[in-house]
């Protein structure tokens, strides 16, 4: 994966997040390094479930609650995209 591919995946996932959560921001407005939860985008655990479902549908793998790295995975769009890049089945 090149840097360009990673950025493309980030963009794609920003769209996925905005669409599945019906957010009122443009995907391009999401700062890939800003926190997704709490401050930043202000998502909560309900949103996390929606995102997990969308990811499993689109990329064919499950995010699991017992992953000890969850805090890091969900930290930002960038970290989430990196996780998807590593585990995606499609």
């Amino acid at each position: 994966m090149t840097v360009r591919d990673s950025l493309a995946l980030e963009g794609e996932m920003a769209e996925l997040i905005v669409a599945s959560l019906r957010l009122e921001v443009a995907p391009a407005e999401i700062d890939p390094e800003a926190p997704l939860f709490g401050e930043g985008l202000g998502l909560d655990s309900i949103d996390a479930l929606e995102i997990a479902l969308a990811i499993s549908k689109t990329y064919g793998f499950q995010l699991r609650s017992d992953d000890e790295h969850n805090h890091r995975i969900f930290a930002s769009l960038r970290t989430l995209a990196a996780h998807v890049e590593k585990h995606r089945a499609r």
């Binding site: 997704l36 939860f37 998502l43 909560d44 655990s45 309900i46 996390a48 479930l49 929606e50 997990a52 995010l63 699991r64 609650s65 017992d66 992953d67 969850n70 805090h71 969900f74």
Partner: protein, 298 residues
């Protein structure tokens, strides 16, 4: 004015009760309930006593006397004491009747979990008695993190291995965890009658007047998409409980276009059942704050 301080207050007493109960045994702890209730009643802030009187007047349909206040506070103290036993599985001395378990078993047989929607009514922990002898069921309680912190502290004091029974919504993966539990055929408990500050409230009729209920719990139920049963563990007397399950919804669905209206409808149904339970067992409902927001802000 914040009522969110109250769970903490309960939490502190809870730890005291747990230490007494597990250290001295149930009989000694039960005897201590009288002085403890007295101190608790005498030391509780006047706005808390006022709130209790307002509630009792509605549930009883008459002006409550000191004896009624005593019964409410005593029942509360008794359920705190019992928590120490119920949560740690020491249910041998308890007489707990169970009604409606078939409804839950049907879901379990179908290999799917269900959501138990409860209230700060009697002891939700009486639910623990369905584990053990019957089918061992995975029971997890979904809580807002303010409340989860206090519950965690208590679990750690009682039985650290049970601390994972609480799923804190403060954790981004909380709902994923809850949905995994349901997928395994487990049970997710949610209390529907109290919210942390800042949660969006929706007013529905409750005991004769509109009262704000949190929209969150039913929203969670809708998102998890599992069947919902109501669950009440009514305190009947020393070590006696009546645990009751009632089918509530095959699935809570919220109309996307009229979200508020459908939430109001579900909450109305919940409040109606809670009201009936409060009228039947008035000394079992433990929300010691201005639930109907009848007080003028100071």
């Amino acid at each position: 004015m914040s009522w969110t301080a109250q769970p903490q207050r309960g939490g502190g007493w809870l730890r005291v009760m747990a230490v007494i109960a597990l250290g001295l045994g149930w009989r000694a702890a039960q005897a201590l309930l009288y002085p403890i209730t007295l101190v608790y009643l005498a030391s509780s802030p006047s706005r808390m006593r006022r709130a209790s009187r307002h509630y009792l007047a509605r549930a009883l349909g008459r002006a409550p006397g000191l004896a009624d206040m005593w019964r409410l506070y005593f029942a509360f103290a008794a359920t705190l004491l019992d928590r120490a036993y119920l949560l740690t599985g020491r249910t041998a001395g308890y007489a707990i009747t169970i009604e409606g378990l078939d409804a839950m078993r049907a879901h379990a047989r179908a290999g799917r979990g269900c959501i138990l929607l409860g209230a700060h009514f009697g002891s939700f922990d009486a639910l623990r008695s369905i584990g053990g002898a019957d089918a061992p069921v995975e029971i997890r309680i979904l809580m807002h993190h303010h409340m989860a912190d206090a519950a965690h502290a208590m679990f750690n004091a009682l039985d650290p291995s049970r601390a994972r029974d609480i799923i804190s919504l403060g954790n981004p993966a909380a709902m994923i965890e809850a949905s995994e539990c349901l997928a395994r055929g487990g049970v997710i408990g949610i209390l529907g009658d109290r919210a942390p500050r800042g949660e969006r409230m929706i007013s529905v009729p409750f005991l004769g007047r509109e009262a704000p209920f949190p929209g969150g719990p039913l929203q969670l139920a809708a998102i998890l998409g599992a069947p919902v049963l109501l669950c009440f563990g009514t305190w009947l007397g020393p070590r006696r409980y009546a645990l009751r399950f009632e089918p509530f919804a095959e699935r809570v669905t919220l109309d996307r276009a009229a979200r508020e209206a459908s939430l109001t409808e579900w909450l109305g149904r919940y409040a109606t059942r809670l009201e009936a339970m409060c009228r039947a067992h008035p000394f079992n409902w433990f929300n010691f704050y201005d639930f109907w927001q009848e007080e003028q802000p100071a």
